[in-house]
């Protein structure tokens, strides 16, 4: 069972690992943890509390906290979209947080309408089992294999991450991995 303490510990560990900080405003931070826990309970994964999720893993994958957009947003604006993660100067109170522009592409935003599961209905399959089934259900999702040319990290998703979670290389360092079944001579 997910608890607020688990949500907090996970966020603290992630901030430490990735060189960012948690929002220093305690009541606001607790509201964010509440939202993350609420989403994990109803969807099965902690999607961003400040974005509309569908409850379908493949469609929400990019907004599962920490979202795909966190690192570039923290770098550019001083905080991520929901302001859970902040930059050092914001943590130290030298800069304040405010709502930032949405970096998530419009087609992904549009995905939250018309395909949702609401009212506490949770996924009938585990997230790890959804990739193939939902890819069939949503043919518009074109999953590809991407690899980081710097460290070799491999992922299977629509687009490469903005920043490699392993070596922090930028998106431009990712290339699509083409798998072919060629005839042997």
């Amino acid at each position: 069972m997910i608890t607020l303490e688990k949500v907090r510990q996970r966020a603290e560990a992630d901030a430490r690992t990735n060189g960012c900080y948690l929002n220093p405003d305690s009541p606001f931070l607790n509201d964010l943890f509440d939202g993350l826990m609420q989403n994990e309970e109803r969807y099965g994964y902690p999607s961003c509390p400040c974005r509309l999720a569908t409850g379908k893993f493949e469609l929400d994958r990019d907004i599962i906290c920490p979202c795909d957009y966190r690192d570039p947003d923290v770098k550019e604006y001083g905080c991520c979209y929901c302001a859970l993660y902040v930059r050092k100067d914001v943590f130290e109170g030298k800069t304040s947080t405010k709502p930032i522009p949405e970096r998530r592409p419009k087609e992904k935003l549009d995905g939250a309408y018309g395909v949702s599961r609401v009212g506490g209905e949770s996924l009938s399959v585990k997230p790890s089992e959804t990739t193939a089934t939902l890819a069939k259900e949503f043919p518009q999702i074109k999953l590809k294999i991407w690899y980081c040319r710097q460290c070799g990290y491999v992922c299977f998703r629509e687009d490469p991450p903005y920043i490699c979670p392993i070596c922090k290389a930028k998106r431009e360092m990712f290339a699509e991995l083409q798998l072919g079944m060629g005839k042997q001579a």
Binding site: D34, G35, P49, C50, R51, C82, P99, G114, V118
Partner: protein, 94 residues
């Protein structure tokens, strides 16, 4: 679509919000309006049916907005994205 009405002494303007039940910025917005004793009505979009979500998106887009929350609509004319205390205060004259 289920909306919730929050009573307040100041009902000079018609204030309507689209919010998410999990969103911390949305909570801040509601708290701010309540503290200022503003009467308002809100819909938590994440708790709505697919059909209602579609209708909400169309309503937001017809007002020139984008589907990101909270959205504050004052007197059916002014649309504010996000918890922008300065803009909300200006629109409400507080």
């Amino acid at each position: 679509m289920k909306s919730v009405k929050v009573a307040g002494k100041n009902s000079k303007h018609k204030v309507f919000l689209y919010t998410l039940s999990s969103c911390a910025w949305c909570k801040l917005t509601k708290k701010f309006l309540t503290e200022k004793k503003i009467e308002y009505e809100y819909v938590d979009v994440d708790l709505c049916s697919d059909k209602d979500r579609d209708a909400i998106r169309k309503d937001i887009e017809s007002r020139g907005g984008e589907p990101r929350y909270p959205i504050i609509i004052v007197d059916d004319k002014i649309l504010i994205h996000g918890f922008r205390k300065d803009k909300i205060s200006e629109a409400l004259g507080i």
